[in-house]
Symmetry: none
Subunit: 208 residues, 4 copies
């Protein structure tokens, strides 16, 4: 029984990986389900046992990959020898980590960013990957622990994520208006401004 379940999981996994590689290399439109199953070494019918259609597997993949990006960045942040202090620095650290990852993996960027970042995160929620909500809470947690107090936190995070996602995408991909390394200072400056604009004037009441 354990073996059967294991097998099932393995099949799904293989389909996942095959689809990912094909989407990355050929694009979604030119990837046929027959390509995916062929690469995965399973029968066509099997695909439909696990996924509704091509777009189903794509959405799940985007969600998965996006989440992975954030998780890896957060992990790196936490494992930094010199602890990074403050929401501002932490956010920019994560942002920077993700950007650097995507610079080295442009196909992944391309794949994810057809549904831009926020869309991807949304689909994380929709597809119900475990730990999705937890993840948003990781951010909230970072906000709460900061020495400043913030209002409209949702709006703030949203604005930052959209700006970084959209501008980063273009800068990495097209080196326009500047290559990403040169654009980073501008991007991070804007992020700092947005964060600042959400800080309350009243000094933060220390949590007890």
């Amino acid at each position: 029984m354990g073996k059967i379940d294991e097998n099932k999981k393995k099949k799904k996994e293989t389909l996942f990986n095959s689809a990912y590689e094909l989407f990355i290399t050929k694009g979604i439109n030119s990837t046929a389900i027959s390509d995916i199953v062929e690469k995965a070494g399973v029968a066509k019918g099997t695909f439909y046992l696990y996924f509704k259609d091509k777009y189903d597997i794509r959405n799940k993949l985007i969600a998965h990959k996006t989440l992975e990006l954030f998780r890896t960045a957060k992990l790196a942040l936490d494992q930094e020898s010199e602890p990074v202090e403050g929401l501002e620095e932490q956010l920019i650290y994560i942002m920077n980590h993700i950007i650097d990852t995507l610079v080295l993996n442009v196909p992944l960027l391309n794949f994810i960013s057809k549904n831009l970042v926020m869309g991807a995160l949304r689909s994380v929620l929709l597809t119900g990957e475990r730990a999705d909500h937890d993840f948003y809470e990781v951010f909230l947690d970072m906000v709460m622990k900061d020495k400043y107090e913030y209002e409209d936190v949702d709006v703030m995070l949203f604005t930052i994520v959209e700006l970084a996602g959209s501008a980063g995408y273009n800068s990495i991909l097209y080196e326009e208006p500047l290559p990403i390394e040169q654009y980073k200072p501008f991007l991070y400056r804007s992020v700092r401004l947005i964060l600042d604009s959400h800080r309350t004037k009243t000094s933060k009441t220390p949590k007890r």
Copy 2:
């Protein structure tokens, strides 16, 4: 000859319009070229006389529609009874105008924003619609006429356009994190901050 050229233009126009309506209503993937030509009332071969394939006409359409959006907004700005003064107010006016238009035309938003705004503007350049470059110059012109001086103007405009496009898209479409009307103040505040951050300290030398 005049007649032939006229006819050619009309054919292309009809194809354009038919494709647009179908893309808007059924989506690109579900729109077949046969649908387009049927709706346009021309032969299938005629389509291939003017466009390479479905994606060719889509790109040209996105470029066209995006440009139109900006043009209409600029026109409204210029025709405002009470002249809008200053780059900041002018940019926000245009932004606001476009947003309001798209709120009333969500299908258009959906259509354009698969390639997000900057991508669309890029394709304007690529497809070489007339007045494309001129258009960018309209912005530069607005910048130059402002009482403040700005540095890294390209970067500034890029950042604003990306932010507005990406955040606006999500806010209008998903009312997340807030419906657009409630999000606007935040968006515009961020825009003002970005503009401000690009202003040079030295007071502007008046042009003579």
Copy 3:
């Protein structure tokens, strides 16, 4: 499984037959794959499961039909009440049998003889119909059993087949320079001359 394989074979067979009838009646150029599948009562996709394109099925058909022609002739030869003795008589018997068949089936002649006989036999080899090589051995066998000895047997058979195929084709189809029945004596005389010219002077050493 047996059922599936049976079905597969039947499908292919049906496609074969439908294609043949259409090629014969309408010609290859005017036969569309849609015609073939329609006549065969299978889906269009099914065709591409078995054949690369129109020319693939045509080549296989030509090979098949040519082989059939030779086989039937050989069979008739073997079943003749009065055994036909000697390579010369046997070859002419087969030749005559094939000609008589084709006279009654001009469309078949037309179909096969776009690739003329040798070409057809060549494609038999290429397409790897079973029993192809065996077939050539049937001839060699006839040569070996003859009371005369022959040199350059390959060349001899080739020359005869080419002459008969090419001249026969024209004579049957266009009755030029003579209708086939009147041309036969000339043709067979030439064949005898060619055979004779390949006979070795030394009397054959009887096999023991």
Copy 4:
């Protein structure tokens, strides 16, 4: 007026040449009329002013090229320093000349020999190239001038032409059963046999 007619002729000529090159390089099936006119630098409609369709121009080309082959061979024969004496040697000279030409121009062989030689000569008659009939008379003339007398001359020539055409085609193209240089002796021996078999026993009555 002369100029107009000249121009007309030039257009037709250009179409001819373009079609020939394309047929030779891409094959007839893959050559579109649009290819031909494009290469010729004339409008599509113009093609239909001169030819019925693709097959019309093909037939005329085959006829033309075949005739040219024979003419060139005959010319070479006549210009040989050491006059070639006797029908037998003359025929083989011509045959050999054509074969040598085609060995160096396999595409031409391929093109012509879809309609094999006799078919091509037939189409010469059908398309009514000038000098076609004359050409047949050239052969008859050669026959008449020979020191031997022949019966069934039509049949004789036909048999020889078919044999040489068909066997030569395969030998040149596929080097089967032997490369043409090695096959030639066999071919010419057969030709001599066929000629011999048509000679009347009675010595020829000298023409007066």
